[in-house]
């Protein structure tokens, strides 16, 4: 039965979209059927990593939320058009779908003004799991704790919280952990990203584990090469031997290990 994996961070800038795209790609590469939903309707971004622009995009999650189409009409098969970059070429033949959010300014401001029905989002996610026969549905959420993110936390089987090793992320993650426990999320996994290499990674892992009393699936280094690449490809597929990619695969394995 399919699992909903929500990827969340309390603040922006943690590398959440990049991590989500890479994790979903790695899990798809392992032979699983994987969907990615970009519920960050206010500031969508994950589509860029899969080489999508407005022209290629077609229907979006916004269309579904406004009752203009079925959710299955939004799902784009990445494996079918992925070969346009070195890293993504490895996704050809995998079962990986992306459900993008609209990047049209008017549609974004419409959501910001009027909000949307979180129950309809929930129904859409459940339908996706079923019609695409997914093993994993990754949800890339908007940072912070609003109604949509609370919903995605509430319905997730696995919640991945990404934090940077700094004071503000620690504080915000503490609250998010409390919320996840209050909502009985069955599997909580912490991932530290953007750790400066001069720090003792084992020590960071130990501290985070102790502070939140939750497993830490990976401490990933600050990745200048990723920033240098820009958002043109899936980093861990393009540079599989990079330390960041290795740490990321550790997180993917932790997801696959959840019963």
């Amino acid at each position: 039965m399919g699992k909903i994996v929500s990827i969340h961070s309390f603040r922006g800038g943690t590398g959440k979209s990049n991590t989500t795209a890479n994790l979903a790609s790695q899990v798809a590469l392992s032979g699983k059927r994987v969907g990615i939903v970009d519920t960050d309707i206010q500031s969508p971004g994950i589509h860029v990593l899969f080489g999508l622009d407005e022209k290629k995009m077609g229907k979006t999650l916004n269309d579904f939320l406004h009752g203009k189409c079925e959710i299955k009409d939004v799902a784009l098969s990445i494996g079918e058009f992925a070969a346009d970059s070195e890293g993504r070429a490895k996704l050809v033949g995998t079962n990986l779908w992306l459900i993008p959010s609209s990047i049209r300014g008017r549609e974004i401001s419409d959501v910001l003004r009027n909000g949307y029905d979180v129950n309809r989002l929930n129904e859409g996610l459940q339908t996706l799991l079923k019609v695409l026969d997914l093993d994993y549905l990754f949800i890339d959420t908007h940072p912070g704790l609003n109604e949509e993110t609370l919903l995605s936390i509430a319905i997730s089987d696995v919640l991945i919280l990404i934090l940077r090793p700094d004071q503000q992320d620690f504080q915000g993650t503490a609250v998010t952990v409390d919320i996840a426990r209050s909502l009985d999320v069955p599997n909580l996994i912490l991932v530290v990203n953007k750790a400066l290499t001069r720090y003792d990674f084992d020590d960071i892992r130990r501290q985070v584990h102790e502070k939140f009393n939750a497993p830490v699936a990976g401490v990933m280094p600050l990745n200048e090469d990723l920033a240098d690449m820009g958002s043109i490809d899936i980093f861990s597929l393009r540079y599989p031997d990079h330390p960041w990619s290795k740490a990321l695969r550790g997180v993917a394995e932790a997801i696959l290990a959840v019963k």
């Binding site: 609370l150 609250v175 501290q207």
Partner: protein
């Protein structure tokens, strides 16, 4: 002159503690060799057949390769001795000796040395004692080096200061064991320095959570009707999904 010769011969560690009578017998055999700057005393691979003590001037001991490249192993000046082993063994020269300045060297040929040795059987015993002592001395340091290597492997550098003190005592050019010690000291300092740098770079983070704020924010977030409704539905939502499959 023979007295000066005796003093010069004593510079060779092989002869350092020999009785005066034996040194006098050897001194009679000593001849003088003069070198112009740049002139070679002998070259690597030549038959080794004499001991030398530098009387004046400076020479360099160099290792030469087939293409004529030179690596200077050491520089020696007045009082320094080399080639004592060649009096005993029949090995060819392991390095070349070339004069840096005009130099005068005292030379003791192996044949002359052996002649004295035949006439004075006690000399043979003395020489054997010296070689034995040198061997024992070197073995001691090899054992120390083994023990230190193990401690370095375990990250224990506490003996480094002790090595430094000992290695400063031993200054003789001929004393290979002390050279090993000083090289060892540099090795330990280098490794320890780099390791300390790394330790310093590997900073520790101290991150704290403000528990009062944590509780406040949690209460704010969970006090809404939306949250109460969501919490009530969370379990139902998951169950609903299981039922759908």
């Amino acid at each position: 002159m023979p007295d000066e010769m005796i003093l010069s011969l004593k510079k060779a560690s092989l002869f350092r503690d020999l009785p005066e009578t034996l040194l006098a017998a050897l001194a009679e055999k000593v001849t003088t060799e003069r070198l112009e700057p740049g002139q070679a005393l002998f070259r690597k691979g030549d038959a080794g057949d004499a001991l030398y003590v530098i009387d004046s001037g400076r020479v360099k001991i160099v290792s030469e390769n087939a293409k004529g490249g030179q690596l200077v192993l050491n520089e020696c000046g007045p009082g320094d001795a080399f080639g004592d082993m060649s009096l005993i063994d029949l090995e060819p020269r392991s390095a070349s000796v070339i004069a840096i300045t005009a130099a005068e060297l005292l030379q003791l040929k192996r044949d002359d040395f052996l002649e004295v040795l035949e006439a004075e059987p006690s000399l043979a015993l003395d020489i054997m004692r010296r070689f034995s002592a040198r061997l024992r001395y070197n073995t001691t340091y090899i054992e120390k080096a083994i023990a230190w290597s193990q401690r370095i492997a375990e990250g224990d550098y506490s003996f480094a200061d002790q090595i430094k003190a000992e290695s400063e005592d031993a200054v003789s050019n001929e004393d290979k064991a002390s050279q090993l010690l000083s090289a060892f000291f540099q090795l330990v300092q280098g490794v320890k320095g780099r390791e300390d740098d790394l330790k310093q770079q590997l900073q520790k983070l101290t991150l704290e959570i403000d528990e009062v704020r944590r509780k406040q924010e949690f209460e704010e977030l969970t006090s809404t009707d939306f949250y109460a409704n969501l919490k009530a539905q969370a379990a139902k939502l998951r169950q609903q999904r299981l039922d759908n499959q």
